[in-house]
Amino acid sequence: MNRNSFTGPGHDDRDQHCDLDDLALLAMGEEVDLDTEHLAACGQCRSEAASLRRVVRTMRTVSPADSPNAPPANVWTAIQQQMASDTSSDQETGDAAVLATVIPLRSRKAPWIALAAVVGLFFGGIVGASVISTETVAPSLVAQAALEPLPGFTTSGTAQVEQTDAGEMLAVDLTGLPPAEDGYFEVWLITSESDSMISLGAVGAGGSTRLPIPQGLALDRYSMVDVSAERFDGDATHSTISVVRGTLDT
């Protein structure tokens, strides 16, 4: 159904509608050889040309820089957090509450990122040196992250990737965990693009755990350590309630 002009009753060869491609070129401001007499008389062709011209006029104000970009990843994290806390408190709220509870995105974590970069450089150097000079003896630190509380929590802690004889392990130490009511806390590694995640296991009593990292997992991709609050509900997926998060300085 590739229409090249309007069709309909009441038109013979002498009263042919304008070619639609030509009307589009006309709207683009090009010089087109078309039946101007018909165009002047035909409301259908005129309105088509006019509506395309409006599109062209707006397009002329568009610049390549107007291409939409995705918002930073922390925007979605904050939205998910709010969705999760809405679900858990199970109450409908209005716009006023949205304004009141919105999580400020400005300047969060910025000082830590700078520090992490410095620490990363420092340990990167040490690890590089130690890998060369020692055959596997004691666990060596491969990467680490400070775990910072997500809104609604006051838990914090550290995560460290250690190279051991048994492969890489993730050691998580948390302080200030809330009491786990009918549930537990689970450790995840999430990609920096947040498009994939892997569960490593549960946090033990006292907030510490040491979990094997599957061999072959690309830690530079799965660089975000996340600890979630889970219920004993048989659902193996992430509850979307994250307690702490931090990015490994891989």
Partner: protein, 212 residues
């Protein structure tokens, strides 16, 4: 035991084939409506993540242009999607489109931010004077920004060759004859791509303005 590995319902960059774009938007809308209506086979969170993935770049980019500040645009985007999540029961697909609804919320959240700038509760004095005057949700400047971002989005999503053809036409001011020569395409092909793309851009503008 937990499953060891699974994809998460979190934002990815769009990779849909260009031809399926409109259908894909329609499909997301239908799933969103089904999840709101309590379809037990659809996870409301997963669908909302899809909605976010598809339309958050539009919302964010409109907000960035309106606020002229990345951080504030992030906050507006956050507010828009939290508002959308909380009022999702109120979306009526027969009264308007899903992007139209989201962009309607975007207008209101931008208007909120602008009025907060005018009546700051805390110390937010940087870069205020640009937006003064009486600014409601239907400020024509926001309308214009929305139109521009919607068109730029669709231009990206047209895919080659139509996107290349339109870019040459609009950003380099070439005639269809010059474009045909540049891309070694038949004149008729270029002409019909121009028409079909303009029609699609027109549809996009209509959908975006279709606020319930």
């Amino acid at each position: 035991m937990s499953e060891p590995f699974r994809p998460a319902p979190l934002p990815l960059s769009p990779v849909d084939p260009p031809a399926a774009k409109t259908d894909a938007d329609q499909e997301i809308t239908e799933r969103f409506v089904a999840s709101v209506n309590g379809d037990p086979h659809i996870s409301a969170n997963d669908v909302f993540a899809e909605v976010y993935r598809r339309w958050s770049p539009l919302v964010f980019s409109v907000a960035r242009r309106a606020m002229n500040d990345e951080n504030e645009a992030g906050e507006v985007t956050q507010r828009v999607f939290i508002s959308a999540w909380r009022s999702r029961q109120g979306f009526n697909p027969t009264a308007g489109s899903l992007p139209g609804w989201l962009l309607g919320i975007t207008r209101r959240r931008i208007a909120d931010r602008w009025s907060e700038r005018k009546h700051p509760t805390s110390d937010t004095t940087d870069s205020v004077p640009e937006h003064t005057g009486d600014l409601g949700p239907h400020d024509p400047r926001v309308d214009q920004v929305i139109d521009q971002v919607v068109l730029a989005d669709e231009l990206d999503r047209l895919g080659p060759p139509p996107s290349d053809i339109l870019r040459l036409a609009f950003f380099e001011d070439l005639t269809h004859g010059e474009i045909a020569e540049r891309l070694s395409l038949p004149l008729g092909t270029v002409k019909s791509h121009i028409r079909r793309s303009l029609v699609r851009l027109r549809t996009r503008l209509e959908v975006a303005r279709d606020e319930p």
